[in-house]
């Protein structure tokens, strides 16, 4: 899981860095920090969603497997 996370992180970091790099820093002092935060969350939302969904699926599979093993033991 660590490897997957790191891979996804690196990919997204590159994409976002490129995305951010293409923006013009003009009038930066007048940008509402809240807006920047919204934009940033949108930009990285895919990673968070992907990791969360993967984790949920992994947990569901693990739970199902445990249930099956419990049934077999009984």
């Amino acid at each position: 899981m660590k490897f997957v996370e790191a891979t996804v992180f690196t990919t997204v970091a590159l994409i976002v860095a490129l995305f951010a790099g293409s923006m013009t820093p003009a009038h930066a002092s007048y940008i509402d920090p809240g807006t920047t935060s919204y934009l940033f969350q949108m930009a990285v939302a895919g990673v968070f969603g992907l990791l969360y969904t993967a984790r949920q699926i992994f947990r569901r599979l693990a739970t199902r497997r445990m249930e099956q093993e419990t049934k077999k033991t009984e």
């Binding site: 996370e5 790191a6 996804v8 992180f9 997204v12 970091a13 976002v16 860095a17 951010a20 790099g21 923006m23 013009t24 820093p25 003009a26 009038h27 930066a28 007048y30 940008i31 509402d32 920090p33 809240g34 807006t35 920047t36 935060s37 919204y38 934009l39 940033f40 969350q41 949108m42 930009a43 990285v44 939302a45 895919g46 990673v47 968070f48 969603g49 992907l50 990791l51 969360y52 969904t53 984790r55 949920q56």
Partner: protein
């Protein structure tokens, strides 16, 4: 009836504010907050948070509003001492961060979301962090990101990362930066290797870079959607990031009592007995243990039922003390980081938003044990200056006089020649006698030290 006074730290939120009247603390909820307040109640969020002891308990009262446009007046439970994030050790800030994420997760479960994630919304009650801002919730708009995400990173993740990866004393930066440590500052101060950490890389470094370069687009806050999975995933990622940050205390003072006592074991046992007797004689409700180290004497006060704030300037000692309190389930001690020679000032708007240490006193009783010689020799403080400090912070005082003849003082003096010459027991009694009535003096057997109980004259 005494006049109504608004609490200086709660004026920014249009949803409501805190005020005091007749010695009681109240929170006015403004009409503007009507929908969110009803949703908090009807969704069961308040009940759940209070049942799990995550939110400060409150009751609705019928007292008169302090300002027009009031929806209702709440009376929250009053805490014995308000502490601030720049006074917390690493584990306290970490516990506060995890609490904030837990509250946000529960809020989402009930269709609400935290509209701010300030570390000042958390206090310590009964040894555990607790959320105190009842009006921090707003209805969650499906698809909206977390409005307080950036603030969480600045108030919690950035200082914790700096403390874990650079130096625990960097938590003190929160005193300089009232709304959290700027992300670009945290990013610049953190070691380069932290850019390779997925959590810190995204939430701190990448966000800091994004802030530097982003430009406001058309559409503002309404633009884009964030799925529920993405939002939950982000919260999960933040929690993992916070949990992943660790710091092991290593300092000069945190093993002070464990490694070598400044006097024979018998003398220490005698001192413990004398101090316990003196505390019992003072019958305090609230004690400040100044220079508490890892809390050997704070525990004596707490054992007698006093709520005890245990201050020390050494971060490692406070960290060890807090961990021990958590292990022991100790509810009456609050360890805090404080440099007595430079105590927390009043900061924020008009220097009143966060109170100074002196404004949060005085304590019923202050303990100043094995402390004076460090202030006199280590910090060149003359006796009248010390008298002034202790008179400002305490109604009663238990203080240990450590003379020049003491072996520890001789060590301190080994390379010093510029200390105040009038540091004698007679001069000490004369100086403190101007502000205090000396109720008792007890020599500590097996040492040349003397314990005093004093009563503030004013």
């Amino acid at each position: 009836m005494t006049p109504t006074a608004t609490v200086p730290g709660s004026f920014r939120d249009p949803s409501g504010f805190m005020f005091t009247r007749d010695g009681e603390l109240y929170r006015q909820v403004n009409s503007e907050y009507r929908d969110a307040y009803h949703l908090c109640r009807q969704s069961g969020l308040y009940d759940r948070l209070m049942a799990e002891q995550l939110l400060i308990p409150h009751i609705e009262t019928a007292v008169a509003p302090a300002a027009p446009d009031a929806l209702c007046i709440l009376k929250p439970e009053r805490l014995p001492f308000i502490s601030y994030p720049y006074e917390w050790c690493f584990s306290q800030l970490k516990a506060a961060a995890l609490l904030t994420l837990q509250v946000q997760s529960l809020a989402l479960d009930h269709g609400l979301s935290l509209k701010d994630a300030s570390a000042y919304n958390v206090q310590f009650r009964g040894g555990r962090p607790i959320f105190i801002d009842t009006l921090s919730f707003e209805p969650h708009r499906p698809g909206a990101p977390w409005v307080a995400y950036r603030q969480f990173c600045m108030h919690f993740l950035a200082p914790l990362a700096l403390m874990a990866h650079r130096d625990a004393r960097l938590g003190g930066l929160l005193c300089r930066h009232l709304d959290g440590i700027p992300l670009e500052l945290a990013s610049a101060l953190l070691p380069w290797r932290t850019k390779l950490s997925p959590a810190l890389g995204i939430h701190l470094h990448l966000q800091a870079a994004f802030e530097r370069k982003a430009r406001k687009p058309a559409g503002g806050h309404g633009a884009g959607q964030m799925s529920e999975a993405a939002l939950r995933g982000m919260l999960h990622g933040l929690e993992a990031a916070v949990r992943g940050l660790t710091w092991e205390p290593t300092g000069r003072w945190d093993t002070y009592y464990a490694e070598s006592l400044p006097y024979p074991q018998e003398a220490f046992a005698a001192k413990e007995r004398l101090v316990a007797e003196m505390i019992a004689r003072c019958e305090p409700d609230r004690v400040w243990d100044l220079g508490a180290n890892t809390g050997a004497f704070s525990r004596l006060a707490a054992a007698q039922g006093a709520f005890t704030v245990a201050f020390d300037y050494d971060h490692a000692s406070v960290e060890r003390h807090y961990r021990q309190c958590v292990r022991d389930g100790e509810e009456r001690i609050l360890p805090l980081v404080l440099d007595l020679t430079n105590p927390s000032p009043g900061i924020g708007w008009l220097s009143r938003e966060r109170s100074s240490l002196l404004d949060r006193g005085p304590a019923d009783l202050a303990l100043a044990l094995a402390l004076m010689h460090h202030l006199v020799v280590g910090n060149n403080l003359p006796l009248p200056a010390l008298t002034e400090l202790f008179a400002a912070v305490s109604r009663q005082l238990i203080i240990e006089f450590v003379p020049f003849a003491d072996p520890r003082v001789r060590l301190l003096l080994a390379n010093r020649r510029d200390v105040h010459a009038e540091y004698t027991q007679q001069a000490f009694e004369e100086s403190f006698g101007a502000h205090f009535r000396i109720l008792a003096r007890e020599p500590i057997p097996g040492s040349c030290r003397v314990l005093y109980i004093m009563q503030n004259r004013f």
